[in-house]
């Protein structure tokens, strides 16, 4: 088989890009990465590869673009079937997709409200965010991973978002470990995996980015 060309239009602090980096690492697939300046000036390649949203990540496989991180992760799972990221049974796959969708709808925007808000709004945002984490804790139960015994699709979608939690904790004045200890344990378990650690930025670095975003949004 000829060498396959994989190019990831990437951004270090983006948790959405982090998902794709982890998925590719799990499959042992080599790829090239091109860091995009998402705030300063998006490349022509990005704009032409993702004309609908103009966002990262975009994975170009032999020149053909794939957009939307959750969809890219599913593509990676189907194009390189081993090891599987989604369960085999249709019902469990539907549950995995459901929780992936839940995470998509709630977590990043919910967390953003904490650092974008002022005054009393911060408390409201914080409560909603913790509620979301508790719901995720509920579905995790006593399992090692959301995928069960094995690190999988939901774990991959969720773990990069946790690099932004330090920033939320600073601005919301709370600790995830105190509010949701089981969730914290899962985060630590994931962070023992080499593919996760190598793919994700330090939370302190993300915090610096959030500080900059707050200025841009006129929050401080």
């Amino acid at each position: 088989m000829s060498k396959q060309e994989l190019l990831l239009l990437d951004c270090g602090v983006s948790p959405f890009c982090g998902r794709v980096r982890i998925a590719l690492a799990e499959k042992g697939v080599e790829y090239e990465s091109k860091e995009e300046n998402v705030l300063g000036g998006k490349s022509e390649l990005l704009l032409s590869s993702n004309p609908v949203y103009k966002k990262v990540p975009v994975l170009l496989h032999n020149g053909k673009p794939l957009c939307e991180s959750s969809i890219i992760v599913q593509y990676i799972d189907e194009a390189w079937p081993s090891p599987p990221l989604l369960p085999t049974s249709p019902y469990e796959r539907a549950q995995a997709r459901f929780w992936g969708d839940f995470i998509e709808k709630k977590l990043f925007d919910g967390g953003s409200k904490i650092w974008k808000s002022k005054g009393e709004e911060i408390e409201v945002a914080k409560k909603e965010f913790i509620e979301t984490l508790k719901q995720l804790e509920g579905t995790l139960g006593d399992k090692d991973f959301f995928g069960g015994e094995n690190f999988g699709f939901v774990d991959i979608l969720l773990i990069p978002l946790t690099t932004w939690f330090y920033a939320y904790e600073k601005f919301g004045d709370f600790k995830v470990e105190e509010e949701c200890p089981k969730f914290s344990t899962w985060v630590k378990r994931c962070n023992q995996r080499e593919n996760v650690v190598k793919a994700l930025p330090e939370p302190e670095m993300v915090y610096e980015v959030v500080l900059m975003l707050r200025k841009m949004h006129g929050v401080e």
């Binding site: 609908v52 496989h61 969809i71 593509y75 194009a79 019902y91 839940f102």
Partner: protein, 220 residues
């Protein structure tokens, strides 16, 4: 053992209709239960505790939620006929992308047209809505369906909005056929399919429903 399939639904919901189309495409019998969203049944609250929304598919007692996740589940379980997703991973990713685009954009933008009083918000909603439909029309191209030669996943995600078109047009004061003739030709083509025509609500009944809701919310 025969499959027991129950669909928790409301008749005007374009999301519920997607599931009905998929079930009809697969030739499946099921029990239809109409929910009153002002007085949700204990079964709905038990089967979808996270979002408390319809549609919910209950297959042999186990719930699946979120309309396109349900459609994908149906496609995987009953894979004996009428495949809705293609087999090629890249084409599957493209199908998921466009169904996700319909999900992200159309309902929320359409709401601005129907549920706001005349003014800037409604005008903006109308412009954005037409832009979305034009983009989808370009994506359709000269194919009979979004799935290519065959009716598929993206067609299911979008066609159920067509019975709401008359309502959008009426409150937004515009003609979708004038703006997007190819798309309207596509809806007519889809309506020739029994699975679609038997699943979609009557556009005039939808309009009466919307009118009733607007009065209830004091918009009319």
């Amino acid at each position: 053992m025969a499959d027991e399939i129950v669909l928790l639904s409301t008749w005007p919901s374009m999301f519920s209709m997607r599931v009905r189309v998929a079930l009809a495409e697969k030739g499946l019998e099921y029990e239809y239960r109409e929910e009153d969203l002002w007085n949700k049944s204990p079964l709905l609250l038990k089967m979808n505790p996270v979002h408390k929304k319809i549609p919910v598919l209950i297959h042999n007692g186990k719930p699946i939620c979120e309309s396109m996740i349900i459609v994908e589940y149906i496609d995987e379980v009953w894979n004996h006929k009428s495949p809705l997703l293609p087999t090629d991973p890249y084409q599957r990713a493209e199908a998921r992308f466009w169904a996700d685009y319909v999900d992200k954009k159309l309902y929320d933008i359409g709401k601005k047209i129907i549920w706001s009083t005349k003014g800037e918000e409604q005008e903006t909603g109308k412009k954005e809505f037409i832009e979305c439909l034009k983009l989808l029309e370009r994506e359709l191209g000269d194919n009979p369906y979004f799935g290519g030669e065959n009716f598929g996943f993206v067609d299911v995600s979008l066609v159920t909005f067509s019975c709401w078109f008359h309502t959008y047009e009426s409150y937004g004061n515009f003609s979708i056929e004038t703006e997007c003739p190819k798309l309207i030709a596509w809806t007519k083509r889809c309506l020739e399919k029994e699975s679609v025509s038997s699943s979609l609500a009557d556009p005039h009944k939808i309009h009466d429903f919307a009118s009733g809701m607007r009065k209830r919310f004091g918009i009319e």
